[in-house]
């Protein structure tokens, strides 16, 4: 969360000659990120990003304490002037009974006061507005003012509207409330609420006040009410209802219950000062869950080992002490007692080391690369290698790579939905199912580029296969689409063949598609189907392959075959072949006839005739015409016997 604080307000608790910019820089480097320092009237505001573990820094007092510790380490003089509050003993006539539930609230401090409602003084207004908090009236402003100084959210209610009895309980499912900004919410149950004697819910604790108890223009008596609530429950309600007040953002971060008392007495002082306040009840302090004190023991040797340099022990002790820790040195160890405002955050030697290292200054440490000279060698070729190689090949063949989401809508999911890997809490209905193939997403990309006549795109991404009682199987797929007027199946087949060749895969086969579509299935050795080419229409052809399977077969191995000293003999044979006979079968039959046939390819195809180009070569001698003639005849004979072909 980010909060804003005026520089002059901080200086009420911090004595220093450092400029606002210097303070911001020193804090950013050693403590909390001051994202911006901006001019405000004659002053500066700090915009502070408070991390979830340090709610103590979301306050003027906490920030001053921290600055008092870190500034001197950055050669800036600074002294923390702690917040001091006076306790009040009061015995008024107004009654307030609070029945707590210790599972919901760790501490409650409250008091009833007589007040006069009026605008806040200018200084209070300025300080709040610089913090992005709207000034309303003195009664409400004081609650925010106390919150900003102490970091503890506080709450004010109209005592006469509320009544003298409050009972803390969990909300039941379906109970309705109206918050002070007049919005109605239906609670889902388990929320922390307070009800009055009439059983009406009068407060949504830790989150926001309610319309039926908020102070109004006629308010004369108030309940100033402070509580340390169960962080998890507050967060749950706030997220369910979408209420993200600053109070929530603090209360969900495990605040120090000690703050309640400090906030109470500070508030009483301010009501006295700005609202002519008078305490008219006893001080209520219900404190069932007092936190345990904590001690951490750290080896001095470990401090230096983790930080990487030797930090003087006196400096370590000084840093910790100024941060509010109590330190005792025993031989080679430090025994550190953690202050209440850091109990939730600090508990291990590593935590103590962090405190020392950050205030010492990470920027004061040297930079070195880790050596680790016993590393194991790793193979050169892996799935990443092939992925890069294939992506680059496709790029230089004119393909553009796209990235689409792994999650798809019902429309883009192919296959029965009950087998889909499904998101239980989707963000929207477009992103619900983990896809089983990539093509539908690529078609979506096409639809976003309708005006283009020529498109070649591809993607390599995981698809997800549901497994019973196991993690889904994640399989890497490669998919692509070629869109072009009158594009050809053979163009796409060509990309696939060249890809396979570049992957060192020579054993593959294209077979007619077994799905109800035009195209081909692609098989690798051992009859393993690796993917398919699909003709969608005359302008649109896609392909998809299991990339993990391709990688299993891919190899960089090459084998040298001595180049033959004897020239090959080339020949073209034209044949009349029935259309239903596939070229692949014919070529296989031709090659079978003799091992001297080095190559057989289809050269041309016209109506019922096909011309094959045949290369004969003997590694050991020159072939004679007679030898070639004999093989030639054998080819014609076998093709004729098999399919009744005739030479043209």
């Amino acid at each position: 969360m980010n909060i804003k604080i005026l520089d002059s307000w901080l200086r009420e608790y911090l004595k220093t000659d450092a400029t606002a910019k210097e303070i911001a820089k020193a804090l950013s480097l050693t403590s909390v990120s001051i994202e911006r320092v901006e001019p405000y009237k004659q002053d500066w505001t700090y915009d502070i990003e408070v991390t979830t573990n340090r709610p103590d820094l979301a306050s003027v007092n906490g920030l001053a304490r921290e600055a008092g510790a870190v500034l001197p380490q950055q050669e800036l003089n600074a002294n923390y002037l702690p917040l001091k509050t006076k306790t009040v003993t009061a015995d008024g006539k107004a009654k307030l009974q609070v029945e707590n539930n210790p599972n919901l609230v760790n501490r409650i401090c409250a008091v009833v006061m007589e007040v006069i409602l009026q605008p806040s003084p200018e200084e209070v207004k300025d300080r709040l507005e610089a913090s992005d908090i709207r000034s309303i009236n003195n009664l409400i402003d004081i609650t925010n003012y106390v919150m900003r100084i102490t970091g503890q959210p506080t709450h004010v209610m109209d005592y006469d509207r509320l009544g003298p009895h409050l009972k803390i309980r969990e909300a039941r499912k379906g109970e309705e409330i109206t918050t002070l900004d007049k919005k109605t919410y239906v609670l889902s149950g388990g929320d922390i609420v307070a009800e009055n004697k009439n059983g009406e819910i009068v407060d949504l604790l830790g989150i926001m006040g309610l319309e039926n108890s908020v102070v109004i223009d006629q308010t004369k008596r108030i309940v100033f009410f402070i509580n340390n609530v169960n962080s998890t429950k507050v967060r749950k309600t706030s997220m369910e209802q979408g209420i993200r007040t600053e109070a929530v953002q603090l209360n969900e971060k495990h605040l120090d219950p000690e703050l309640c008392e400090e906030a109470l007495y500070l508030g009483i002082e301010l009501y006295k000062e700005f609202a002519q306040g008078k305490v008219i009840s006893e001080i209520i302090d219900i404190y069932p869950n007092i936190p345990q004190t904590k001690q951490v023991t750290v080896q001095l040797e470990k401090i230096n080992r983790v930080i990487g340099i030797d930090v003087p022990t006196t400096q370590s002790i000084e840093i910790l002490t100024k941060l509010g820790f109590t330190v005792e040195q025993k031989g080679e160890t430090l025994i550190v007692t953690v202050p209440t405002f850091r109990l939730y955050d600090v508990g291990l030697p590593e935590d103590i080391i962090e405190e020392i290292a950050r205030v010492y200054g990470y920027h004061n440490l040297p930079s070195k690369l880790p050596l680790l000279n016993t590393q194991q060698p790793k193979p050169l070729v892996n799935v990443f290698y092939w992925e890069t190689r294939v992506k680059h090949a496709l790029k230089y063949w004119g393909f553009t790579e796209v990235y689409t989401y792994s999650m798809v809508s019902e429309n883009l999911y192919e296959g029965p939905l009950e087998n889909a890997v499904t998101i239980a809490n989707p963000l929207n209905e477009d992103l619900v199912y983990l896809r089983r193939n990539v093509i539908p997403s690529l078609l979506h990309v096409l639809s976003e580029n309708k005006q283009r006549e020529h498109i070649q795109i591809f993607e390599i991404a995981n698809v997800y296969d549901k497994k019973e009682n196991k993690l889904p199987e994640e399989i890497r797929f490669i998919a692509g689409i070629v869109k072009s007027p009158h594009t050809s199946f053979f163009t796409v087949k060509g990309y696939i063949e060249q890809l396979l060749k570049d992957l060192g895969i020579t054993d593959y086969e294209f077979r007619p598609s077994t799905e109800n579509s035009d195209g081909a299935d692609i098989f690798l050795a051992n009859n393993k189907k690796v993917g398919a080419i699909e003709i969608l229409d005359e302008n649109l052809i896609d392909f998809e392959m299991n990339f993990d399977l391709l990688c299993e077969f891919a190899t960089l191995k090459k084998m040298y075959i001595p180049v033959s000293k004897f020239p090959p003999i080339l020949e073209d044979i034209s044949l009349e072949i029935p259309a239903k006979i596939q070229t692949g079968e014919v070529i296989a039959e031709i090659k079978k006839q003799n091992s001297l046939i080095k190559e057989a390819t289809l050269l041309d195809r016209y109506e019922h005739s096909r011309t094959f180009h045949i290369v004969y070569q003997d590694e050991n001698k020159n072939l004679t015409n007679e030898e070639v003639k004999e093989i030639h005849n054998k080819i014609l004979q076998s093709l004729h016997n098999k399919w009744g072909t005739r030479e043209k």
Partner: protein
């Protein structure tokens, strides 16, 4: 026979040399290699050669043919060159005939650059599940049970019965599950680079529901903050250029202690402070010393081994590159070719 071949060869070469233009050269070619050309005829003589000389004759005549063909080709090439030289109509500003050139997605390009940089200093790239158990995504990473990242509002959960030991399945919200998976292997020392798709329930100008992170993990003996600084400096200077400066400052993560956020100087204002940055700095990502609870969760003794980890967004470092000027992360996932073809 050999003499006869020598004669044919010499004769042929002089004919090639004497040709004055491509037309004459075409005629010469026909006279030598045509159906009744002198070389073609010489091939036919092989039948008359005694059996024991056949092989030698075959070799010689092939060699002769090669020499003549080369001479012809180079003569043709010379004429062609001259022709271009004197062709006054050649307009070199006419459009070229381009070989095909597609585009790799900017995220791929960033991943390749990041991988190269870390491999140079001994890191090994790995890949782990994108859908993983709560144990790997949170529990073993020292996330408390009620941590906000573990609730329905921030992380995507998979509709599947939770595993009795490892909990529900989630779409990983960070690449840090790789730390646990890597540590479980117990092969030390570790210098891991894990790059993967990551998912969070968010969609706005600076967040998309699917994005990419790269995670480093270094585990060994006596690995300190000094080494973390060194490694991240090396990366930042290699990736962004030597003029950019990085700094680490305190931050908070569950799985590291101490934790850092890494900043780099803004390239727009050169570190002076401007609207785009925070007092001259931009956040690069998170890092820290691996939390002892994380080591313990995987059965590694934190007194023997220590180390650091970092997790940065791929899109984020991409957007922070000099001059790229992408100010909305959603643009990176645009399906428009007009965008993709710029990379």
């Amino acid at each position: 026979m050999e003499e006869k071949l020598l004669h044919i060869k010499n004769n042929a070469l002089s004919m090639v040399l004497q040709a004055k233009n491509t037309k004459e050269l075409d005629e010469v070619k026909l006279q030598l290699l045509g159906r009744s050309g002198s070389l073609t005829q010489a091939f036919k003589l092989i039948g008359k050669v005694p059996e024991e000389e056949k092989a030698e004759y075959g070799r010689l005549i092939n060699e002769t043919k090669q020499i003549v063909e080369d001479a012809l080709q180079s003569a043709f090439d010379n004429f062609k060159k001259q022709k271009i030289k004197y062709q006054s109509s050649l307009d070199v500003t006419d459009p070229a005939i381009l070989p095909p050139l597609g585009h790799l997605h900017p995220v791929t390009q960033a991943i390749e650059e990041i991988t190269t940089i870390f491999e140079r200093i001994g890191f090994t790239r790995v890949r782990y599940p994108e859908i993983d158990y709560d144990w790997y995504a949170f529990e073993a990473l020292n996330f408390p049970e009620n941590h906000p990242a573990r609730d329905d509002w921030e992380t995507f959960f998979i509709k599947e019965k939770p595993d009795l030991k490892k909990g529900p399945q989630v779409l990983i919200p960070h690449t840090s599950n790789g730390q646990i998976r890597e540590l479980e292997k117990k092969e030390f020392p570790i210098k891991m680079l894990n790059i993967a798709k990551t998912y969070r329930r968010q969609d706005d100008i600076s967040h998309v529901p699917m994005f990419h992170q790269f995670e480093t993990l270094v585990i060994g003996k006596d690995i300190s903050i000094v080494h973390l600084k060194g490694t991240l400096d090396y990366f930042a200077k290699s990736y962004f250029g030597p003029d950019r400066v990085t700094r680490i400052r305190p931050y908070h993560f569950q799985f590291t202690e101490p934790s850092f956020e890494v900043d780099i100087t803004c390239d727009v204002c050169k570190g002076k402070g401007c609207k785009l940055c925070k007092e001259g700095w931009l956040e690069l990502g998170g890092a820290g010393m691996v939390h002892p609870n994380v080591l313990r969760a995987t059965g590694v003794d934190p007194d023997t081994y220590s180390g650091f980890a970092s997790g940065f967004g791929v899109e984020r470092v991409l957007m922070m590159k000099d001059g790229i000027k992408i100010d909305d992360v959603r643009i990176i996932y645009s399906p428009k070719l007009d965008f993709l073809e710029q990379f």
